[in-house]
Amino acid sequence: MRLEVNRLGKEFPKAKGGTIKVLDDITFNSSEEEVLGILGPSGCGKTTLLRIIAGLEKPSVGEVLLDGSRTDRSNPKMGMIFQEYSLLPWLTVAENVSLGLEIRKASEDERREKVERYLSLVGLQGVAESHPYELSGGMRQRVAVARALTMEPAILLMDEPFAALDPQTRGEIQESIIRLKEATGKTIILVTHSVEEAVFLADRLIILSAKPGRIRKIVPVGLRRPRDRASEEFVRLRMQVLNLLTSLHVESKADI
């Protein structure tokens, strides 16, 4: 699966007329099974970039190509994990997970088999008959991951999926994302505002500057897994990225 983002730009209309440019000339490729972290100061359009890749929004200029063809939201090769509240509260966990399969009109056997397989892959066998509101935030996000996986997407897009979780749960779910990537060999594109999370999870980091969002640097992480957050090279890389982000943040403030 080859993902190409070509000279992507996005402008939004302003309330008082005119437009505001949030993304400018974004170009990158991904052809390997990798975890790609997208980092940037607030207002750099990282979520917008992810939503354009998902097909939830249209770019003003440029294009996103998946194996050479343009993507749209109903492309089953893309799965998306949202920040929160993406599970349907009136359905049970199992019904939520099998939703995409039902829409695709998969057979009952296939649905049952896949719901079981992906729920156990994210470590949630026991809660199939529960409702989302009976689960913790971390469990809900894992259900959302299982639901996206049933569609067997080649690329999994994650929009700050752990932002609302407490630090401990966050650590656990980060570990499970690594296991997931190793078990399924998917490309994962992760938008986050946590440098530590990005350095821990990603193979490459795309660092955006703000107003408008431009690619400032693409940083290969190159740390072996399992990664030790306390190791010297981890800390050094984290500081390096943090410093870069701080300077970008100062820059974006200076523009105002």
Binding site: P76, M80, S86, P89, H131
Partner: protein
């Protein structure tokens, strides 16, 4: 505890009826209870209390269903699609303040005396609460639900049946509950229109003509009790089916 206020009202009513001492102004509670206790007795040749109540219930059900089959699809359309909303919004906002009773002359002119004109009045009463709540419910569906399900390959039809309808269902149900309550008020009013010869509304007016105020009040009590029972029915369904809305924060 729950029956303290109704019981107190009953006592005050009893005392007042003793003081006033005129069955034309305020009949005693006992005389009203006596009428209620014999629901199968033909009252002054206008049918039994039970038959008249059943006729009213049948009318309200038909009128309510007629309102529902128009209001829910229109509400979904107006809630989901801006074009449909702008097309109907102003017309609906203008028609809504007109009370159903103001339509009585026109409904008689258009639909003649009888079932048709009565159903028209009843349906009008139920229509707007159902419509407004359906629009509200559809608009209240979370964008994150819509986007998440569309990422699973859902088309517009899937979104309507799997996200919009179930997501809006609790609010639509509130609309149905309020709408039925108003329809039930309208049925009594419709049965007081010229030409009516059955129903609780008719019974009340007929008994009034004969000076049988205890029958008038018995009819009123039956209207209140049936309204209460139906509201409880709606509420119990709400608790059973839509508890997710309360629990999901």
């Amino acid at each position: 505890m729950k029956i303290a206020v109704p019981l107190a009202l009953l006592v005050i009513w009893g005392v007042l009826s003793k003081i006033i001492d005129s069955s034309f102004i305020l009949p005693s509670p006992l005389s009203v209870i006596y009428v209620l206790a014999c629901p199968l007795e033909n009252i002054l040749g206008s049918g039994t209390l039970l038959d008249n109540a059943l006729v009213s219930l049948q009318r309200v059900t038909l009128g309510f269903l007629a309102a529902l089959v128009v209001a829910i699809p229109l509400g979904i359309g107006m809630g989901r699609y801006e074009i449909i909303y702008h097309l109907f919004d102003k017309a609906m906002a203008m028609l809504r303040p007109i009370p159903p009773l103001a339509w009585v002359p026109l409904s008689l002119a258009w639909l003649k005396i009888g079932m048709g004109s009565m159903l028209f009045i009843i349906a009008l009463g139920a229509f707007f609460p159902i419509l407004l709540n359906t629009i509200d419910g559809i608009r209240g569906v979370k964008n994150s639900w819509i986007e998440a399900v569309s990422m699973l390959g859902a088309g517009e039809y899937d979104l309507l049946t799997r996200v919009f309808l179930p997501g809006a269902a609790p609010t639509i149900w509130t609309g149905l509950r309020v709408g039925f309550g108003i329809a039930w008020m309208c049925v009594v009013a419709a049965e007081m229109m010229p030409g009516a010869s059955t129903g609780l509304g008719y019974l009340i007016m007929y008994a009034y003509g004969w000076g049988q105020i205890q029958v008038v009040m018995a009819g009123m009590v039956v209207i209140g009790l049936i309204g209460l029972a139906i509201d409880l029915l709606f509420k119990s369904v709400e608790v059973k089916w839509f508890s997710w809305r309360r629990l999901d924060k």
